[in-house]
Every structure is written in C-alpha cells, then in structure tokens.
C-alpha cells in the first residue's frame, strides 16, 4: 500500500510556500529591502503554523528573493539585492538588445536549475554529514561554532573592530536570561520580561525591519521608479535552455560550495560563478554584451547557495549566515533542535523539509513565469507607502509573537540602535548570527569543561578540534595582515 500522507502534507504546505515565495520575490525585487526584511516580516506568522509549514515558508522567502533581485537588476538596472549585481552585466545589454523578458527567462531558468541542484546536494549529503557529526564532542561543536563567528567577523565588514563588536553584542544579548546550568538570572536588569532572553522576533524586527524603515525615512521617500514592462515573456526554447547548461552547472557548483562556508553567502558566490563561467566559456568575449551564460551562471549560483547554506545548518545545527540564523529562529520557536539528532530522531520532518524545498523551487518557477510582470510593476511603489506598511505589519507581528507590548517597544529601541550602527558601518547580520549561536557556544564550552573536569586541553585534544583551531587562527592572522597592509597603503 502506497503511503500518500506525505503528499497530503506537502499540499497542505503549498499555500505557505506560495506566500513565502510571493513575499520573497516582492522584497527581493525592491532595491534596498531584500530577503532579510521579507523573512523578518513573515517570522511572527510562524507561531500560528506547524513547524514544517513555517520553515518552508521562510525558506521560500529565501529562494524567491534570490530570483526577485534579478528582476530589478534587469528591468530597473538597479540590483534588488547585492547578489543580483553580476546579473546586470549581461542582463541589461540583453534586455536592451533583445527583450527584458528574454533576460528574465535566462535568470528564472538559471535560478530554478540552481535551486534544484542545491536541493539535490542537500538531500544527498545532509544525512551522511549528520551521521558523521554524531561523533562530534562538545569541544568540537564549540570550535565549529566559533569558527563560524570568526569567519563572519573577518568577511562581513571592511572594519574588523566594528565587526567584532557586533559579534560580541550578539553574544552578550544571547546570554541575557536565566542561565540553564545554574538557574541564575543574568543581565536582565530585574525585568521579568527578559528572564527567557530577549524575544527573538522583537530582535529580528528591530534590527532589520525598523532600522530599514528609519534608513528609508532619510532617503527619497517619494521617488517613483520608471519601468518599461513591455516584452516580459520569460519563455525560452529548448535550444536556448541547452545553450546555458554548462554555465548553469558551473554556477550551481560554485553556489553550493560557497553556501556551505560560513559568512560567505550569495553575493560572493554569484560573482565567483560569473567569473568561472566566463573563464570556462568558449565565447569569453561575448560576456558583458548580453551573453545568456552571464545571466544563468550567477542566478544558478544564488539559488544553489540556499541548499548549500542549509547543509551545515541541518546536519550540524550551526547557521552560517544571517538569513539562515533567522530561519533558525523558526526552529527555536517550534522547539525543533537542528543537527545530527534531528536527522536521526525525526526523519519524517526532514523528509517534509526536503520535499518541500524541491516543491518551493518548482513553485518559484511557476510564479516567476506567471507573475514576473506584476513584480516588475511593484517596483514603482514609492517608499512613502512601503515604509509605514512595513512598520505596521512587522510591529503587529512582534505583538502576535508574545502578546506583550514590552517586546514591541524593545523592537523600536533596537531598531533605533541598529540604524545608528548601520550608518556607522557595523554589520548587524553578525549580531543576529552571534545571538543564535551564543547558547550553542556557551553550553558546549561549559559542558566540555565539566566533562574534562576543568582541563582546557580538551579543546585541542582531537584532530578535528586542532583543525578547527588552526583554521580559526589562520583566518584571524590573515585578517590582521589585511588590516596592516591596508593601514600601510592608507599611510603612504
């Protein structure tokens, strides 16, 4: 007897996936907003859903925003997200010489095939990695999480000191509340509302949505962008699709590989994919003049990065980027602990996620084919409408998450603080990643020491921990050298 309960659950989740994709493509297309604001807006809604539905909805935002960024890059000549910037190099010339729809077609096919490639790698590798990860000790997990933070601090900003401060602030925020090992109240200032730690939704909304709205308020609120939404047919012939198979494959491979690395993300992967596709192409000179491979490769990389980024998170429980850290928030809200134990103890849930992830990519293709013109027209909405709407919906979401006005005020206060930090060059993405990793880092560090009866050599006792330690040391040294070289150049 064939079990169809699986398909039934997937069908139940389709409306959430559709909502996530719509929000993702919409916010990805709007320059300056991007996927994190989209994920932030939908995070509070996840309280009223089942775990798989909530997580798939947020993953759909992530997937959708990767494609959405290309819409404004091609139609408006302004990338909606940083990772869509390389798409402009060939997308804009093709839009001018052929049609915007043709360029968007290559972008959509590249994104879909990249997303499916990322999903395939995730499905094939997550379980073996999780099985191997069961052998990791607390000391190993501590060093792995620490390596993620060190990499993020080194790569996230030009200013290393500010990057480190953002990480430290996130870690400090993660220690607020009752200490699980001793029952002591820490850094709560006697406020009962902070005994469970700061409300995650409140923190995310403050850091990303409110600070973005405040940033919009000092810009051009009434600017109406002009678009030419003619010739938006995104269909491609089989010959055209096969013409970019090599670039798509290169982009997908680069995307997955960079997605796995903590702190690297889609922006780097899309540029690397563009460069790799150009280098390995027989028509190198055509790049920059509307070459289809120059659109398909970076877009495939963007979307395959999602599968790559999910790999260490699902298999090891360690998020490697701000977007995945916020999605980790949905796991925390539903009491699901990602990592090797999840794979072993809850295979049905993992299967739902995997199948849902594939369905998300397919739905993105359908939505892209049907609604690209609508999303392109949405680019004309001025910020004077968007900013108050984002504020109202995000703050309502904070209230839904806890029913407590303290958290709504906290979101506003954090938004003001995050705005100041952003204009001064502090990477707030580091803050959220550190906040999510703080309990993992502290708990594994303290538990490792308790097991080793206070012997600090436990952190360099296995080949794995020595490797992690070595990698962290190499990254730190390289960063310090980079700063020293730059200081010398500035001086001379």
């Amino acid at each position: 007897m064939i079990d169809f309960s699986f398909a039934q659950e997937l069908i139940q989740h389709l409306p959430f996936i559709g909502l996530g994709l719509f929000v993702g493509i919409f916010f990805g297309a709007l320059p300056g907003l991007g996927m994190i604001v989209g994920i932030t807006l939908l995070l509070p809604l996840s309280y009223n859903m089942d775990a798989a539905g909530a997580i798939l909805m947020l993953l759909a935002v992530y997937q959708g925003a990767e494609y959405g960024g290309s819409i404004s890059a091609i139609v408006l000549k302004i990338p909606g997200t940083a990772m869509a910037a390389p798409v402009m190099l060939d997308g804009v010339p093709m839009a001018e010489s052929k049609s915007p729809g043709k360029a968007l077609g290559y972008s959509l096919y590249g994104s879909t095939l990249g997303g499916l490639f990322g999903a395939a790698v995730l499905i094939l590798l997550a379980e073996p990695i999780a099985k191997a990860a069961i052998a990791l000790t607390d000391a190993d997990i501590f060093l792995l999480a620490l390596l993620g933070l060190v990499t993020m601090s080194s790569l996230a900003s030009d200013d290393f000191v500010k990057s480190v401060i953002a990480v430290l602030l996130g870690l400090i925020a993660g220690t607020i509340g009752i200490d699980a090992m001793s029952g002591t109240s820490r850094l709560t200032m006697g406020l009962p509302d902070l005994f469970d730690g700061p409300n995650l939704v409140s923190v995310v909304v403050g850091l990303f949505a409110i600070s973005e709205v405040l940033k919009m308020s000092i810009g051009q609120m009434n600017q109406i962008r002009q678009i030419d939404a003619k010739d938006m047919n995104t269909s491609l012939s089989l010959k055209e699709i096969l013409g970019v198979w090599k670039a798509t494959l290169i982009g997908s491979g680069v995307g997955v590989a960079t997605g796995v690395l903590p702190g690297v993300g889609s922006t780097v992967s899309s540029w690397l994919a563009y460069a790799a596709a150009k280098r390995l192409s027989r028509h190198r000179k055509r790049f920059g003049t509307g070459e289809p491979s120059g659109i398909a490769a970076p877009d495939a990389a963007n979307n395959s990065t999602v599968g790559g980024a999910l790999l260490p998170f699902l298999a090891l429980g360690i998020p490697g980027s701000a977007s995945i850290a916020i999605i980790a928030g949905a796991f925390i809200i539903h009491g699901v602990q990602p990592g090797p134990q999840l794979m072993r103890n809850n295979p049905e849930f993992i299967q739902q996620l995997f199948m849902g992830f594939v369905a998300t990519t397919m739905c993105m293709f359908v939505m892209g084919r049907l609604l690209t013109t609508l999303f392109a027209r949405a680019l004309t909405i001025p910020n004077a409408f968007l900013a108050p709407a984002i504020t109202a919906f995000s703050l309502s979401g904070v209230y839904i998450s806890s029913g407590n006005f303290f958290d709504v005020w906290l979101a506003l206060a954090l938004g003001v603080a995050a705005f100041a930090m952003r204009i001064l060059g502090y990477p707030v993405a580091n803050f959220i990643l550190a906040l999510i990793l703080a309990p993992v880092i502290e708990k594994s560090f303290r538990r490792a020491l308790v097991i080793a009866e206070g012997d600090y050599q436990v952190f360099i006792s296995s080949p794995f921990s020595i490797t992690m330690f070595g990698l962290a040391a190499v990254i730190m040294t390289a960063t310090i050298f980079k700063i020293a070289i730059r200081s010398n150049e500035d001086g001379s």
Binding site: L45, N48, V161, K162, V164, I165, L168, L169, L171, I172, T175, D179, M181, S182, T184, R186, L187, I210, V213, L214, S217, I218, M221, N222, P382, N383, A384, F385, A387, P388, A389, T391, A392, F393, L395, S396, Y399, I400, F405, V408, W409, L412, V416, F419, A420, M421, I423, L424, E442, F445, R446, L449, V450, I451, A452, E453, G454, D455, S487, D490
Partner: protein, 148 residues
Amino acid sequence: MQKALDNLLFVAFGVLGSAIVVTAQEMPEGFFGDIGAGAFPAFLGFGLLTSSVIGLTRNTINSSSSFQFKRAQLCAWITMVLLISSFIATWQLTGRFLLSLTGFLLLAFTIYRTDRSPNNLVLNLLVSLCLTAGAYWLFTLTLGVQFD
C-alpha cells in the same frame, strides 16, 4: 559628524562592557570544572571593552568622515521615530489595534507623500483602509489573533 558619532558609540560600548564585567562578578561561581554563570558574560564584556578602546584609539589617530546628516534628514528620521512611538502608545493605551493602525498609516502617508492634492489624500485614505482590512484578514480571520 561620523567621527563624533563613532566615538560616542565606542564610549557607550566601553561603558556597557565595563558594566557587564562588574555585574558578572556578582554571579555565582561554578564547580566540578564549570566556569560559572558569570564567566562567559564577563569574558564578552571584557572583549567589548577592549574592542571599544581599540576603536576609540584608532579613531583618534586616523579617521575619515564618510557621511553627513542634513537637517532635513534628521527631521525626517525624528518624525518617523515619533510616529512609530505614537502608534505603539495609542495602540497600548486605547487597546484599539485597527483604529490605531489606520490612524498611523494615514498620518504617515500624509506626512511622507509630499504631493497633498485632494486626489492623493483620498488615495492615502484608501490605501490605509485597504492595508487595515488586509491586517484584519491576515491576523484576525486567518491566524485567529484577537487584538482588541
């Protein structure tokens, strides 16, 4: 302006780091190899203090200003913070979410949309009402949240 703001923030973070180190001293010590509840926050507080001192020193020696806040931008920013604060306060004090939401949206649209012709004012009102209806549909009818 950036240098002054940078310095202000470094000092604020330095003070915060010191306060965390002091507070962490009062937390109970651990036993059987545990470092105790205060060790991790104390370490982080010390790290924050050290990073702030490094940042402040670097800023004093060498700093370049990359942005300037214009008076109009400052006014727009303060207006937005006040608007959001009054939305939350009205909602909290009256307990009327939908009414506060419509009021906030209408006021914000009217302030930030510089063209205040009668047609645009009507459009502002319509968009406010549509968004409020959308919020009611999403939060109350779909998710079952009772605000009032």
